[in-house]
Amino acid sequence: MGLQTLFFYLFAFIAVASAFMVVSARNPVYSVLFLILTFFNAAGLFLLTGAEFLAMILLVVYIGAVAVLFLFVVMMLDVDFAQMRAGVLEYAPIGALVGLILAAELIIVVAGSVFSPEIAKTVPMPIPALSQRTNTAALGDVIYTHYIYFFQIAGLVLFVAMIGAIVLTLRHRPNIKRQNISQQVGRTPETAVQVVKVRPGQGL
């Protein structure tokens, strides 16, 4: 118990501190890096509660894809962050209000099982206890069997999105030099080397 508590406070403290740094750092690149640190510590918190699948997804999706995308956007686009941050204190009360409402809603949702305990019994696909089956295995039990239909259609929807993005944006430009490996490899000394006799004093 002691070790778990220690790690909880470690992850929680770093998560909160780096979340604060995300909004207060002057350099936007630092902000994104602190965001990654926040995600990483949140993944650690998930791991402590036994939600190892969420932890993995957080690492793979949020750090691996979303945060890196942010980093690209921040580095590539010429956004004046100092100007954007100029009026940040004016919005602080509204931000605090939004945070308060979110916190209240979270507490209500989590406390829902206290108000009506029978809710837990109406779950259509109850997850087995953590000691019997891990999250990932429990998800795998249903996602490729009971929910295979939805899984496959979701795949097709993403497939359409991919085709659509390519159709609407890809342009084949002519006259661009591209590396043609077979052509490179197929060159022989006869086609590649030319022996030229240079007369003195005349050049080519």
């Binding site: 109406t122 069997t145 009971h146 929910y147 295979i148 239909y149 939805f150 496959q152 259609i153 979701a154 097709l156 929807v157 497939f159 359409v160 999105a161 085709i163 659509g164 390519i166 159709v167 609407l168």
Partner: protein, 480 residues
């Protein structure tokens, strides 16, 4: 789900599997052969749709697949056949047109195949989740094809508008679904109905129902969720508009029928009010707003809004006759739409310029008498003048409304169709009594074939109406 259940499910969804695998395979064909394979991919796509249709025809009986997410029944089979036919004909008309509209790309038939797959899954959806995902599959492909001519400002505007408003409607649909799930604890249609019939009606469910209907009304472009229709119809390349106006409407109507008749059957009086309202509003707006239109694609957009209103008249009745009327209406609507758009695609000057104004049809009876005759039949049919098919379509839905004692709805519908007749007759007057401004190039064989067949169907409906009506009744009997 056991392995046996999975195999049984795969068997029940065989036509869908053919479409999905066909789309994947055709994309490979297109990628490896490049742009020059567009024609080949187009014809192969028509072949895949035909194969799926043949398999569908050979199936019978009904069954639930994938743990209740997918339902195969006579209604689904009939509507799927209609939707497949619509997609195939829309692709067939594209064969000679793609180059002219700067959309000669092999992805187009692949996206149409995937949209068709989405439509079939929509028709078979038996669960809120599968309904939503199928709808997204179909819509997403439709957004892309609307913006297919990406160098044209109108086309990209159409795609963007369609996408943003479509996302908004999806949001409303999802919100409604989550409310219904929250208040009934179920996502499957039969389970929702069972919960509601055991006294589960509550304010939250009604809210959810209204949001779901709003989201679906967007997809069939019913008033007050119709704003996107004229712009998208006008902006999208005409072959794409042909597709958007035909098969997806059939699928969306089939979906709305299944949602209200199965899932919300115990609270019929609640959804009836909503359907009656959007039906009246669509009929009125469709007839009045079309009067001032100069562009024939915009005219067809308002016409289609009006026709969705007429189709919903039958659904508002909520009876066997009503659903039969809706099915017949959608079949006839699709034939009329495809025929009209074949004529619109044929409006090309000899120098290759496409014209889209209603006034460009002036004097068509002198330059191309046959097309003028067909277009006249189409316009008379769209207006609902006997003995053409469009008259019977309206007759059946109004009859069902009267039998369900919805007199006000039927009377407003008849009055709206009188107003609507004005602008259809204006097109006829232009063609026969005005002087020609210029001739059209000889239409391609595929267009001539489509509009001739569609005209033949409308004129000869008295002969084939009997068996078609019987088939529609058999399909509608699924619910009653």
């Amino acid at each position: 789900m056991t392995v046996e259940a999975l195999y049984a499910s795969l068997g029940l969804s065989l036509p869908e599997l053919i479409l999905a695998i066909g789309a994947l395979a055709l994309l490979m064909v297109g990628v490896f052969l490049g742009e020059k394979a567009t024609g080949l991919v187009n014809w192969l796509a028509i072949g895949v749709i035909a194969l799926a249709g043949i398999v569908l025809l050979s199936m019978n009986g009904s069954g639930v697949a994938y743990g209740g997410a997918f339902l195969a029944d006579p209604f689904a089979r009939f509507m799927k056949l209609v939707a497949l036919l619509g997609s195939a004909i829309a692709l067939f008309m594209t064969t000679g047109q793609a180059k002219l509209y700067n959309m000669n790309r092999f992805e187009y038939p692949v996206l149409i195949l995937l949209a068709t797959l989405g439509m079939m899954l929509m028709i078979s959806a038996n669960d809120m989740m599968s309904l939503y995902m199928a709808l997204e599959l179909q819509s997403l492909a439709a957004y892309v094809v609307a913006a297919m001519n990406r160098d044209d400002v109108r086309s990209t505007e159409a795609g963007l508008k369609y996408f943003v408003l479509g996302a908004l409607s999806s949001g409303m649909l999802l919100y409604g679904m989550s409310l219904v799930y929250g208040f009934t604890g179920q996502t499957g249609f039969p389970e929702i109905a069972a919960f509601l019939s055991s006294g589960g009606r509550s304010l939250g469910v009604i809210f959810g129902l209204v949001f779901i209907l709003a989201g679906v009304a967007f997809k069939i472009s019913a008033v007050p969720f119709h704003m996107w229709t004229p712009d998208v119809y006008q902006g999208a390349p005409t072959p794409v508009t042909t597709f958007l106006a035909s098969a997806p409407k059939v699928a969306a109507i089939a979906m709305i029928v299944r949602v209200v008749i199965i899932a919300f059957q115990p609270i019929t009086t609640d959804w009836q009010q909503v359907i009656v309202f959007i039906s009246i509003a669509s009929m009125l707006l469709g007839s009045f707003a079309a009067i001032g239109q100069k562009n024939i694609k915009r005219l067809m957009a308002y016409s289609s809004i009006g026709h969705m209103g007429y189709a919903l008249v039958g659904l508002a009745a909520g009876s066997l006759q009503g659903v039969q009327g809706v099915i017949l209406y959608m079949v006839i609507y699709m034939v009329m739409t495809l025929g009209s758009f074949a004529c619109i695609l044929a409006m090309r000057r000899p120098d290759g310029e496409h014209v889209e104004n209603v006034s460009d049809l002036a004097g068509l009876s002198q330059t191309n008498p046959f097309m003028a005759v067909v277009l006249t039949a189409l316009m008379f049919s769209l207006a609902g003048i006997p003995p053409l098919a469009g008259f019977f379509a309206k007759y059946f839905v109004f009859l069902a409304a009267i039998q369900a004692h919805l007199y006000a709805l039927a009377i407003i519908g008849v009055l709206a169709s009188v107003v609507g007749a004005y602008y259809y007759l204006r097109v006829v007057k232009l063609m026969w009594f005005d002087d020609a401004k210029g001739s059209f190039a000889r239409p391609e064989a595929s267009l001539r074939l489509v509009y001739s067949l569609s005209g033949l169907f409308l004129i000869g409906y008295l002969l084939i109406g009997g068996p078609l009506g019987a088939a529609a009744e058999a399909a509608a009997r699924t619910f009653f």
